[in-house]
């Protein structure tokens, strides 16, 4: 599904070059729910932005469904973002002037697939994520959790190969965060979605099948979930502490 090979990315500030990603390699299989964790500055969001094609990378390869996205031109990238990727942002990125349902339909509208099926898909997603009752409301009229579930539904409307989520629970209280994670799980199980999530939240990450720990721009560790979520969360916390040099 997704293969990241030896990825390098640095930022230039004045004459100074700051390497952020230093040879990242990993892959994600279809239907997997994977998250990336790591301390601030470890390169999590940069990694996500490179996979999203929001920013170019210096070196390496990102293969999505076997295609090297660095070779795509602007039109191809637009098509990729619209058809093969779904996005969930920390601050929701919903358009205030559109209703929940219209926001969900937006990727379809942008691709010109404005048929009856579009509305049916939107209704179905609203049902799946329990937001049918607010589908005619505007973002300003709904809660943070509802906004993020709307964003998840929007990310899924075009049946993307991969959903990319950047700190989706970062702006939410724990209850709303939980509902959003449940939405991802629902998407994974009901819609067979593949999800790649950047998070700081070990609780949210503990629901994933796999967690990639980043440190200083390199993959520090891969952790795979067992059967027990709480155990996995504990394992995650221990690994993070160990990574921070505070191991017991």
């Amino acid at each position: 599904m997704l293969q990241v090979k030896d990825l390098y990315k640095s930022y230039q500030v004045g004459r100074q070059t700051y390497p952020v990603l230093r040879g990242i390699t990993f892959s994600i299989e279809p239907g997997e729910f994977v998250s990336v964790m790591g301390p601030s500055g470890s390169g999590k969001t940069t990694l996500l932005n490179c996979i999203s094609c929001y920013i170019p990378f210096d070196q390496g390869e990102i293969l999505l469904d076997g295609q090297d996205i660095s070779k795509f031109n602007e039109t191809d990238l637009s098509h990729l973002r619209n058809q093969k990727l779904g996005f969930v942002f920390q601050d929701f990125m919903l358009l205030d002037g559109l209703t929940v349902k219209e926001n969900i339909m937006l990727p379809r509208i942008l691709s010109g697939q404005t048929d009856k099926e579009m509305e049916r898909s939107a209704d179905r997603l609203c049902q799946v994520f329990d937001i049918s009752h607010i589908q005619e409301k505007y973002p300003a009229e709904i809660s943070g959790g509802e906004k993020q579930r709307t964003a998840v539904a929007r990310a899924l409307i075009n049946h993307p190969l991969l959903v990319l989520a950047d700190e989706p629970t970062g702006n939410l209280d724990s209850k709303s965060g939980r509902t959003v994670i449940e939405s991802f799980l629902q998407a994974q199980h009901s819609l067979n979605a593949t999800i790649f999530m950047v998070t700081h939240d070990s609780y949210a990450a503990s629901f994933c099948d796999r967690v990639i720990l980043l440190k200083d721009g390199v993959v520090h560790k891969h952790l795979k979930s067992g059967k027990d979520r709480k155990e996995f969360q504990k394992e995650l916390l221990d690994s993070i502490q160990e990574m921070s040099g505070e191991g017991r």
């Binding site: 990729l80 619209n82 058809q83 990125m93 358009l95 002037g97 509208i109 509305e119």
Partner: protein, 692 residues
């Protein structure tokens, strides 16, 4: 009906109509004001009165350039604001896979709709606005023959040109906006601030010094070039004025970011930090407000200073009634005048008649080379010069002047800067007799003998011997009632009779000079009588201001003084209104931007427990700073500059000028009151927008 991109975008437009309306208003008002200004500037009503190359015409152009610049910067700001607002929407569209051409189409529609409507409206309403304002004041204040507003459609071209430039500029911005590839930058654009990072301690005083320096050098650089370097000032020399905007920017930056109080910087931390994070745009707007305030007021100062000086000098005249005529004219007699006075029941007394003469004076004529170098050429008979004998001067004024043989006293205007006059010889234009002279002193004079040379009796007799009547004048003066209606009617009828007795030979302006004409013709050059007047326009402002033999009748002069300024007054009043409207629109937009862009900040502050009083104070502090700092700087600055001009004109400021400057200051206070009420209205609107 299926939902399409066009459908939802139209809906988003409706939802965000306040942003669209703001952009539309900014464009519409800018194009409207520029069109109206252009129409007035090109109107034959104004062009016929404001002399080509004259100071008033230059001022008209200068303030137009300033308004144009201000409107350009303002619409640049407005379009920037609009695109920043759009960046989030477009960033989300891009992130969700919208293609550039889709976004291009949407943005083009937006911009086309906004700019075409605003341009159409502005161009369409510019002419009625100009004519409406003009005619409103024409009927409300002064209605004279010259005030009939005639429209030159070429004025519309200014508006059209401005509209084309501004529309092109916004489309270029749009192309750049769409061309960006970094989606994250586009999305974050709306939240991006333009903080001013480093405001040095010297910016405040340094700015003030630069403003003063710019004003001083701007005023004196021409004189320096002409008098010291003997060179016509090149256009680039005007660059010294650049000190003013640069100084203004530094000064306002310091005022906004650091402030002058220097105590308890935490007290106003919210308002100051918001101002700081919108620093560049805020200060740029404030600079424009300051310059437009200054330009508008400078135009408006013209009428009070001219009117005060004129009324003051009328009040200082030795005689309430005085006129002069050429020796070869069959003029009204003392008997005619007394009869007319009797008819109007105006008692007159102290009827006095004296003679004066016109001879040629020597002097230097400036020669301008193509390279701009100025050289001087001595000319023995340069121009006309009126002379009077010391005994006749005494007869008329009661003052004794006794210049030594070969010397003269020059009777100069109290507002003039001449401390000496460089005449070394007088020539009788008929006999060619030459009298070497030198200046004894320059005296201020309010009587009809203004600009005359007083010679001792024997010198006068010697130089005027042999002059034919057309080189001689008779001066008639008498006292009489000046305040009654009858006095006005008497003076009007006497003026009509003087006109009726004046021949075609005397249908000339103040500028017509027989000696200069003869000199030009002797050198094979053409003498241009560029200010032609006609007896048919005897009631006109132009005639009153220019006829060589226009009488000094105080009742008529006082009553008609405003009328004789009408077109000037109206033109400058119009300029003031345009500048004021521009200032109000910029202030309004800037203030509303605060309401639109800082909602979240004030919501967060509310959540942090900030009281309503604190929040309101924080808003009012910002708005007050935006309103007061630039307008006060502009108003005080231009008032100071105006005093400098008055001082530089004569080396001192006369009583009349001080009175005029006082009236100008009252105008500044009036503007302050208008702005205060406007500030309160806008402030309350922003309170409502922020729900505080």
């Amino acid at each position: 009906m299926s939902v399409t991109l066009r459908h939802i975008y139209r809906k988003m437009r409706r939802q965000n109509r306040s942003q669209y309306l703001l952009m539309f208003l900014c464009y519409f008002v800018s194009i409207l004001l520029i069109t109206a200004y252009g129409v007035v500037m090109e109107s034959p009503t104004i062009r016929n009165v404001l002399p080509e190359g004259g100071d008033s015409r230059k001022m008209l152009y200068m303030i137009f350039a300033l308004t144009l610049l201000g409107c350009l910067i303002f619409i640049n700001y407005a379009s920037g604001l609009f695109l920043r607002f759009k960046s989030r929407e477009f960033g989300i569209f891009m992130a969700l896979g919208a293609e550039k051409k889709q976004l291009q189409r949407l943005l083009s529609e937006d911009l086309l709709l906004l700019t075409a409507c605003s341009a159409f409206g502005g161009l369409l309403l510019g002419v009625p606005l100009a004519a409406g304002i003009w005619n409103f004041f024409r009927f409300a204040i002064i209605n004279t023959k010259e005030m009939v507003f005639s429209i030159s459609w070429s004025g519309l071209l200014y508006g059209l040109f401005f509209a084309v430039i501004s529309i092109t500029a916004v489309f270029l911005k749009g192309v750049f906006f769409i061309g960006r590839t970094n989606i994250l930058d586009v999305i974050k654009e709306q939240r991006k601030s333009e903080p001013v990072k480093d405001v040095k301690f010297w910016y405040g005083w340094g700015g003030i010094l630069m403003i003063l320096l710019g004003g001083f050098l701007g005023y004196y650089h021409s004189a320096f070039f002409i008098q010291v370097l003997k060179y016509w000032p090149p256009v680039w020399a005007n660059v010294v004025y650049a000190f003013v905007p640069v100084g203004l920017y530094l000064f306002l930056l310091y005022t906004v970011i650091r402030g002058w109080s220097g105590k308890n910087s935490y007290k106003n931390i919210v308002s100051r930090s918001i101002m700081k994070f919108q620093g560049r745009q805020t200060v740029r707007n404030m600079c424009i407000i300051a310059l437009l305030t200054a330009g508008g007021l400078f135009a408006m100062f013209y009428a009070p200073i001219t009117q005060c000086t004129r009324l003051y000098s009328i009040g200082q005249r030795t005689f309430e009634y005085a006129f002069f005529y050429r020796g070869d004219e069959e003029m009204v007699t003392q008997k005619d005048i007394e009869k007319l006075a009797e008819k109007h029941q105006v008692p007159i007394h102290s009827y006095t008649e004296i003679s004066s003469a016109t001879v040629a004076r020597d002097g230097y004529r400036d020669l301008y080379s193509d390279s701009g170098a100025i050289s001087e050429e001595y000319v023995e008979q340069l121009s006309e010069c009126q002379i009077v004998s010391a005994s006749d001067y005494k007869k008329l004024t009661g003052k004794t002047l006794d210049p030594a043989p070969g010397e003269f006293c020059f009777l100069d205007s109290p507002e003039s800067s001449e401390s000496t006059i460089s005449i070394t010889q007088l020539t009788n234009p008929v006999t060619g007799k030459v009298l070497p002279v030198k200046a004894a002193k320059v005296l201020p004079e309010y009587s009809i003998l203004l600009s005359h040379l007083v010679l001792n009796d024997s010198d006068y007799k010697e130089i005027s011997r042999g002059l034919t009547p057309q080189w001689q004048e008779e001066v008639v003066c008498f006292h009489g009632d000046k305040d009654s209606e009858n006095a006005y009617l008497f003076s009007r009828e006497l003026f009509d009779q003087i006109l009726a007795h004046s021949s075609k030979d005397c249908e000339i302006s103040d500028f017509y000079d027989r000696i200069a004409k003869a000199y030009y013709e002797s050198e094979g050059m053409t003498y241009e009588d560029y200010l032609k007047i006609s007896y048919e326009d005897a009631d006109s402002m132009g005639f009153a201001n220019s006829w060589k033999y226009y009488p000094d009748f105080s009742p008529m002069d006082v009553r008609d003084s405003l009328k004789n300024l009408s077109v000037f007054l109206m033109t400058f009043l119009f300029i003031f209104l345009i500048c004021l409207m521009s200032v109000l629109v910029i202030l309004y937009t800037r203030s509303i931007t605060l309401g639109l862009s800082c909602r979240q900040v004030y919501e967060d502050l509310k959540r942090l427990g900030a009281s309503r009083a604190y929040l309101r104070k924080s808003v009012s502090r910002q708005l007050f700073s935006v309103f007061v700092s630039p307008t006060l700087t502009g108003a005080i600055g231009i008032w100071g500059y105006f005093l400098l001009v008055l001082y530089a004109n004569s080396g001192s400021i006369s009583s009349a000028e001080w009175i005029g400057a006082g009236v100008c200051f009252l105008l500044v206070l009036t503007l302050a009151v208008i702005l205060f009420f406007f500030y309160r209205r806008v402030r309350n609107k922003v309170y409502r927008m922020l729900n505080i």
